[in-house]
């Protein structure tokens, strides 16, 4: 990829900002968004008046024009939203990089703000008496209601095809909890978990138990992207957007991937092809990674989809601490959605930046790049960050 339109290392994340993470927080989602965005801009040393691009998820309740008004932004020339919620987080980084590389904007902010404690935040609980669309119509009348139901049924099949077990799910939950125990900001920082704790947890949707599910937390996270030459003048060490991709194929479905020809094929395959085509780093070169982990089984599909292991080998990859610090590929070194905070994967982006700055509480010293992905049980996206 040496064409003029390559994104490689042309932009960098120069600021990150986070609110506190908690439950039933006092602030509104709009207040939380402003706190995180201002913190990210302060981190970079850039004034809100210089921001001319805003990227978010389509599930975001805080509108870009509210953000611009609240923080005193002047002329916004690029804005976009990624579809499909947690499947789109890394796409906001990609859109920011593309907007800057093509001259649409100079300073782009991406953010996610959410109060999970609000009832309105549970999409599945908002179903009307009459439903529409291919996802709801062919699942809900038979009681597949929540995302956890959709993923649980997928994992029963995965276990059947590949000989995986609940112990493999526990490997993921325990590894990420261990990372959270090192991270003072993590919601589960002071709560160690044993394998016995995992197996004692109540069912949510068999074969998934409470600790296979992400946290229900409030908070906001933001990041700032600008051009590489400008980045070198910012307060922080630039973290370059080395590669950014998004993708799905024709059979793609969100979480409940039951109807396609080969449901156990990771839906990340299309995105992975685009990402690795752009990247100087290969899967085998990656020494630290941040995966979307709303549910533990997603980690296996990501490992397989991006070529960190072969098809059906994702579960076994987690054995002997495979995804824990010190293992073959440390994943979610801040605790992830399972144990740090659930903000549709935006903490994966900021944890990736921390790794490249050398400031993670689960620092992987030898890492020269960090792989970050969004939920790949559906249309997905990923980035490679480097320092």
């Amino acid at each position: 990829m040496n064409g003029t339109l390559s994104l490689k290392d042309r932009t960098a994340i120069v600021g990150i900002g986070e609110t506190a993470f908690g439950k039933a927080m006092a602030q509104s989602e709009e207040q939380l968004a402003c706190i995180a965005i201002k913190a990210a801009l302060d981190d970079a040393g850039i004034s809100p008046s210089e921001v001319d691009g805003l990227c978010s998820l389509n599930m975001e309740n805080v509108f870009q024009h509210d953000i611009a008004r609240d923080l005193g932004m002047k002329e916004v020339t690029y804005y976009s939203q990624m579809p499909a919620g947690g499947h789109g987080g890394c796409g906001t980084v990609g859109h920011a990089a593309m907007a800057i590389a093509t001259g649409q904007a100079k300073v782009v902010v991406g953010w996610r703000s959410r109060k999970r404690s609000g009832r309105a935040s549970r999409v599945w609980a908002q179903l009307e008496q009459r439903i529409q669309g291919s996802r709801d119509t062919w699942l809900r009348p038979w009681g597949i209601i929540r995302p956890v139901d959709e993923v649980g049924v997928m994992y029963t099949r995965y276990m059947h095809e590949f000989g995986a077990t609940r112990d493999h799910l526990a490997n993921v939950a325990l590894a990420f909890r261990g990372h959270a125990n090192r991270n003072p900001k993590a919601f589960m920082h002071s709560k160690p978990m044993s394998r016995e704790d995992y197996f004692a947890a109540r069912w949510i949707s068999e074969p998934l138990c409470l600790f296979d599910c992400c946290l229900e937390t409030d908070g906001a996270i933001a990041f700032v992207v600008t051009a590489a030459d400008r980045a070198r003048d910012c307060r922080t060490r630039p973290v370059y957007v080395h590669a950014a991709a998004q993708g799905f194929d024709g059979g793609s479905a969100i979480l409940a991937n039951y109807f396609t020809a080969d449901p156990m094929r990771s839906q990340a395959a299309t995105c992975a092809k685009s990402l690795w085509r752009q990247s100087d780093f290969r899967a085998a070169d990656i020494k630290v990674a941040q995966f979307y982990d709303a549910f533990t089984p997603e980690v296996f599909f990501t490992l397989e989809g991006y070529g960190f292991c072969g098809r059906g080998e994702g579960a076994a990859f987690t054995e002997d601490g495979g995804v824990a610090l010190g293992g073959r590929l440390p994943v979610n070194t801040g605790g992830g959605s399972l144990s740090e905070v659930y903000l549709h994967g935006f903490n994966m982006i900021t944890e990736g930046v921390k790794q490249m700055r050398g400031t993670s509480t689960g620092q992987v010293e030898q890492a020269d790049c960090c792989f970050v992905s969004s939920s790949d049980l559906g249309p997905t996206c990923a980035v490679v960050l480097r320092n």
Partner: protein
């Protein structure tokens, strides 16, 4: 009984499926040009991009492709029934087509009438139909009688 979420019976893409279900027939969509069958139904044939499709009746026989067991908290319409199994059925006539369903002990039995321990992947099942509103009849599935007692 608290209501469960149901689709509109008059959606142009799916009405034929619900019309057939009210007549206790299980159908899939078939392309009028190339004969490709697809489910869930949608506009155009995914194999040849032809716009005209028709509804093809199936034998209503299948096997369990995967399953799970929902525990609460969930929607009010389902909360009183937890834990209940959820199944995905692979159709015998069209092994590449799958449908989400409920496994019930008898045609009008509740969706928690089969114990999860009695379900296994590959288990043969037959379609049955339950009218849940004036306009929607849901296909559900019962264990195939000839299956008998599993060891």
């Amino acid at each position: 009984m608290t209501a469960i979420p149901l689709p509109y019976a008059d959606d142009p893409d799916t009405a034929g499926f619900w019309d057939a279900a009210r007549e206790r027939r299980l159908v899939v969509q078939r392309c009028k040009a190339c004969g490709h069958c697809q489910f869930p139904p949608h506009p155009f044939c995914a194999a040849c991009a032809h716009a005209e499709t028709e509804w093809a009746e199936t034998s209503g026989r299948g096997s369990v492709w995967s399953y799970g067991v929902a525990h609460g908290p969930t929607l009010p319409g389902f909360q009183d029934l937890v834990p209940y199994p959820m199944i995905v059925v692979e159709l015998e006539d069209h092994p590449h087509l799958r449908m989400v369903g409920s496994l019930v002990a008898a045609p009008d039995a509740p969706i928690n009438s089969v114990a999860a321990s009695a379900i296994h992947i590959g288990m043969p099942v037959d379609v049955t139909f339950t009218a849940v509103s004036d306009d929607i009849t849901l296909p559900r599935w019962v264990p195939r009688a000839s299956e008998g007692q599993r060891p």
